[in-house]
């Protein structure tokens, strides 16, 4: 099977339905609906050059016979709806082999180059050991690519803006196969378009992101009785209008219902290792609390043990029982 002639050009990187690489790629998607789609083949490039080779072929097919070789691009594979990063009877370009995380230092400026197939957990594990951090996502198992090209909210966003704003350079494969850089001096229009423009302009193969010194952070979840609703809304509203907002503080508030049971969860994170920072004073006081799990820890450990936004979005349509809990790091199934 030729699969749009990709096997001829990339013989080592193209996999079909009977192969283990194909099966394991599909089973690694976050949502059942995504993993159920069956592409004709899955390409797993190991470099921007091989992404370029694949795109050239697929582009040529599109131009000579539109619709003949439709494709999808997959990074972390965490988006929940079917078709975002997979495709039935088409070609899926699976970037998971491109997940290097490399620190670059130029004088006293630091950036981290992240392969488009990396997960945030890969990034944090490496950088934490060096006492460094980046404006990154809030779930270890979410991919860098999708989150960043969709904007991206980080615990550091109050201080530094969106995740995408802190990408200094995007390495991109364009539809003609050219590999270009998009940054403040080259292709700035492309750079800005990629900041929120998702997969509309090319395949990003590498993100070079601003990097800073960063140690442990503090925080986690408090789960409250639903009767606390009035104080919760007041506290949430106050947090938003506070003219003296503390840029190290990050908050989100979750309302949950299951089997007639309701509760409220507040995720409180302070991006410095400060115990019980004043920024959250009201939240510590709201009672009754069912569980309180606040601690000083590396960012990647705080997000493993909290119900993070990206893990709440588990869209499963299979006969197993989703649990409502303080969510552990989600395992794709």
């Amino acid at each position: 099977m030729q699969c749009c002639k990709l096997s001829e050009v990339l013989p080592e990187n193209v996999f079909y339905q009977d192969q283990s690489q194909y099966t394991s790629s599909l089973s690694s998607y976050y949502s059942g609906q995504e993993g159920d789609l069956l592409p004709t083949c899955i390409v797993q490039p190991t470099s921007a050059r091989s992404v370029s080779a694949a795109v050239k072929i697929l582009s040529a097919a599109h131009r000579s016979n539109p619709g003949s070789c439709l494709f999808a691009v997959r990074g972390g594979g965490h988006t929940s709806y079917a078709g975002a990063a997979n495709i039935e009877a088409g070609v899926t370009i699976d970037l998971r082999s491109m997940k290097d995380v490399t620190l670059n230092t130029k004088g006293n400026r630091m950036t981290t180059s992240i392969g488009a197939g990396a997960l945030w957990g890969d990034v944090y594990e490496k950088l934490y050991k060096m006492g460094l951090g980046v404006v990154g996502g809030r779930a270890n198992t979410v991919g860098v690519a999708g989150l960043t090209t969709g904007g991206g909210i980080s615990y550091f966003s109050g201080r530094y803006g969106f995740v995408c704003d802190n990408v200094e350079n995007y390495e991109v494969v364009l539809s003609d196969g050219r590999i270009v850089n998009a940054n403040s001096v080259e292709n700035i229009d492309l750079r800005n378009a990629l900041r929120g423009g998702s997969n509309n302009f090319g395949i990003v193969t590498r993100f070079d992101v601003a990097t800073f010194e960063q140690g442990d952070i503090w925080g986690g979840d408090i789960i409250y009785d639903f009767s606390t609703l009035p104080s919760q809304l007041q506290a949430f509203y106050d947090f938003g209008i506070n003219p003296n907002y503390d840029e190290s503080s990050a908050l989100y508030q979750v309302f949950a219902a299951r089997d007639g049971l309701y509760f409220i969860l507040d995720n409180l994170v302070y991006t410095k290792a400060t115990l019980y920072p004043e920024a959250f004073n009201t939240f510590y006081q709201i009672q009754p609390q069912i569980i309180s799990d606040l601690k000083t820890a590396p960012l990647q450990n705080i997000i493993t043990n909290v119900t993070d936004p990206e893990n709440i979005n588990r869209s499963v349509s299979e006969p197993c029982s989703p649990k409502i809990t303080i969510k552990k790091e989600n395992n794709a199934h």
């Binding site: 795109v55 709806y81 078709g83 904007g151 378009a193 209008i241 908050l251 219902a257």
Partner: protein
Amino acid sequence: MYITTSFSNDLAFLQWLLLTWKTFTVSPSLSTVHNLENTMLNQHLVPSLLNQSSLRGGNSLGLDSSKPLIISMLSLTWSDAKDDEAVMATAQAFLDSVEKEAKKRGVHDPFLYLNYAHSSQDVINRYGEVIKKRMKSVSAKFDPWGVFQRAVPGGFKL
């Protein structure tokens, strides 16, 4: 599934929203859905975040640092595929009622955070006309054959 909307920080609206969400959680159309988990997650895009964002050269989100907002994500999980339609329809109806009320109260914000959006949501258009036009011209320049529009059907197209 998840689906998203945004609105400005308004306590009265938040109170209305939670009352309405509670009613939504016990919608008759959801009463037979097995293992249904219904969550709503709210977070602020505070002025500090939006200011810092605008200092970093520009993006395509179309946000205005003078207009802080709340991003709300409604997330539902359930176990049986046969309930997909009912859940989706009920959630959509709830979301529509939220946006309608927000508009009525002058707190609606068109911004949809892409990473929380349902595939049916009009993310790119809701970044705003200026942004969309700019994105289309970037697409015409870097992808003149429209490969990433028509050969890559997944995601939110321009």
